[in-house]
Amino acid sequence: MIRLTRDVIDYHALTEKVRRGDCGAVVLFLGTVRDLTGERVTVALDYEAYPAMAEKKMAEIESDTRTRWPVGEIILEHRLGRLEIGDVSVAVAVSCPHRAQAFEACRHAIDRLKELVPIWKKENWADGSTEWVHPGA
């Protein structure tokens, strides 16, 4: 299951949804807004997506992850809009029969999300300036 949302990510509900009697392991990853990037102080981030393609790519990542590991349930959720320090920007919850599988599947899903899904963040620095984050550009 995948979702883009402008609301607070209820990661507790996501984690409950992936728990299953045939899965002995659940791994949850949360990405949260950091107060520092290098030496610079962040006050907020603005997340923007190309929504139709972002949802398509997230669905492909779900499906690819299910092909590689015996996933019971997997949920990827990404928040958009203005986020403040400590807010959860992304959550990936995965259940599998065993723990190595759950760790690997969750790690794979978030790594691919950060690589492939058309979502961008803009830093709002403490000095009032802003900057789109484009790794390598």
């Binding site: 190309y50 398509k56 961008w120 484009h134 390598g136």
Partner: protein, 77 residues
């Protein structure tokens, strides 16, 4: 075709969406955008082009009516 712009590319160009009548390949579209908007040329070289929600190679002929997107390096998560 229409071309959606995002993030720094949208801010630098100052437009959300471009429209083109001509038929062209992805590579020709890249060259056209670089000529038209020289101040984003550096960002363009690092960006991906999506055609109908899929990453596209330069050789692809863009179908008439396609939704094209210029995707600067992503930073979600």
């Amino acid at each position: 075709m229409k071309v959606m712009l995002f993030a720094r590319a949208r801010e630098l160009i100052g437009i959300e969406r471009l429209e083109f009548e001509e038929s062209m390949t992805v590579g020709e579209l890249r060259a056209l955008l670089e000529r038209r908007f020289p101040k984003v040329a550096g960002l363009l070289k690092k960006s991906a082009i999506a055609v109908d929600n899929e990453f596209a190679e330069d050789a692809l002929q863009i179908p008439a009516g396609a939704e094209v997107a210029l995707l600067p390096p992503v930073s979600g998560g």
